[in-house]
């Protein structure tokens, strides 16, 4: 009966592939999250700017990437924009579109940057005004008060939402399997097509849950550590 849930023979044959799919998923999400982080800082600054030439493109970008599904964005980029081969080749940009991995990196980064910009803005605004006033009273330069006082405190507030966004990215990364990337989902479909054994989907479920739980534990630990100055004990 347990062979329905976990067949050791199946694991011997295909376990290695699952683990490599696991690594691909982690790579994809980690790289795009970091790229998105830096990109979102730029977008958040543009968004809060008073200059409408800077503000409007930022808002349009965020509306586009937060209002439409990741799958639609991915297909639009990979199959839609990617169909103009000769144009991109003459512009020297074909390398961006030719590999599914690059397309995933680009679209996932753009997508997560839009969500992270929202988190950034929210957390930057939540730092108590008194902190910034104190900076001015102490005569700190704008750069110092931003990097030493404002940003670190905002990051503490933003930790939870960023962790959530990371987890959402892990889940969203499954759509990469639809454009030939062998992440956990892609490997699952491959193994299923050779064995027709439904339990491979349960393995995929377990793998994703492990990733998500590990991330949550790490973030919980990090949060407890950096907010220890705020607790009574």
């Amino acid at each position: 009966m347990t062979n329905y849930i976990f067949n050791p023979d199946l694991w011997d044959r295909y376990g290695g592939r699952f683990l490599s799919g696991f690594v691909v998923t982690i790579e994809l999400v980690a790289i795009t999250f970091i790229i998105g982080f830096f990109l979102s800082m730029i977008v958040a600054v543009a968004w809060t700017s008073k200059n409408k030439w800077v503000n409007l493109p930022a808002r349009a970008y965020m509306f586009l990437f937060r209002g439409s599904p990741l799958l639609a964005q991915l297909y639009l980029f990979y199959y839609g924009l990617g169909s103009f081969t000769t144009f991109w080749q003459s512009a020297g940009l074909w390398w961006l579109f030719s590999s599914a991995w690059n397309c995933c990196l680009i679209i996932f980064s753009l997508n997560t940057a839009a969500y992270q910009a929202e988190i950034f803005r929210g957390s930057l605004q939540s730092v108590p005004v008194g902190q910034l006033e104190a900076c001015k009273a102490l005569g700190l330069s704008r750069w110092t008060s931003f990097t030493r006082i404002w940003f670190p405190q905002a990051m503490i507030l933003a930790l939870r939402p960023f962790a959530n966004e990371f987890i959402l990215m892990i889940k969203a990364s499954a759509v990469a399997s639809l454009i030939t990337i062998y992440d956990v989902m892609g490997v699952t479909k491959l193994v299923y097509s050779r064995t027709y054994d439904f339990q491979v989907y349960l393995w995929a479920a377990v793998l994703y849950l492990i990733i998500v739980e590990v991330v949550r534990q790490i973030v919980g630990f990090a949060e407890r550590r950096i907010t220890r100055h705020l607790r009574r004990i």
Binding site: Q89, W94, F97, S98, K189, Y192, S193, Y196
Partner: protein, 251 residues
């Protein structure tokens, strides 16, 4: 407000329930494999497979209901009794034979490879594909063939949810080759791929029958289908369908 939502919920689920009587034979096909099964602009499944299916149902004097199904849900759906037969150019591979049954063939095919016009791949030897990107539809006999023969020699196999997407990527230049059944590939090169791609050749020794997939222990249905296949070959219906798609001796 909540009652409006509730009404929508009920209407929605009613609109999309499958209402099939017990006598109907439900047949599934894919829709992404021209000219055997594809979808026209009215969302109607059309193609060689569908014409064969309708002809067989007529011969068996059974009312048939055709449903569309994604390729990777074909076998699970068959096993789960969502439909009773799969007529979607499916080959009786050893993996599939372990869990489902197949009727006699309704046509035969070989595997073939297509490459871009300016490709430097000269022959079908697996070694000449080392380091190249080969595309195939996921979960098909051709993807398994590619995995077993081309990947060990160093090729990169890329799998797609449907054959049409693999062909698109060949046309867009992301793939160095595509491996597929001969007839859909020839159809692709004749129509959408005539400017970009050419047929490299058929792979020797990969001739395989294409049959109808049914659940195991459905001897009655299997007999009926086999008899119907023989009947349509005998009375000329098969030839008429063949000619409609410009095939010859596809059996």
């Amino acid at each position: 407000m909540k009652s409006i939502i509730a009404t929508f919920a009920i209407i929605g689920s009613l609109l999309y329930s499958v209402a099939a009587s017990a006598q109907d034979l439900i047949i599934a096909s894919e829709g992404g494999y021209p000219p055997f099964n594809y979808v026209d602009s009215n969302n109607k499944l059309t193609g060689f497979d569908l014409d064969i299916a309708n002809a067989l149902c007529e011969k068996m004097q059974v009312k048939c209901k055709i449903v569309a199904q994604e390729w990777d849900g074909m076998i699970p759906g068959l096993l789960a009794k969502k439909f009773d037969a799969v007529i979607a150019s499916m080959a009786p591979s050893p993996e599939r034979l372990q869990i489902v049954d197949f009727t006699n063939r309704y046509y035969s095919t070989t595997l073939a490879v297509a490459v871009p016009q300016n490709s430097d791949i000269k022959n079908l030897d697996p070694k000449s594909f080392a380091g190249k990107n080969i595309g195939a539809q996921a979960g098909t006999a051709q993807s398994i063939y590619a995995e077993d023969h081309f990947v060990p020699e160093g090729a990169n196999l890329k799998v797609y949810p449907s054959a049409v997407e693999a062909n698109s990527d060949l046309r867009d230049g992301r793939l160095d080759a595509v491996i597929q059944d001969k007839y859909p590939l020839v159809d692709f090169i004749r129509h959408d791929g005539k400017d970009c791609c050419k047929l490299l050749g058929e792979i020797e020794g990969t001739s395989q029958p294409i049959s109808i997939a049914i659940r195991k222990n459905s001897e009655d249905l299997k007999r009926k289908f086999n008899k119907a296949i023989d009947d349509i070959r005998a009375d000329g219906t098969y030839k008429k369908i063949e000619e409609k798609y410009s095939f010859s001796n596809i059996y």
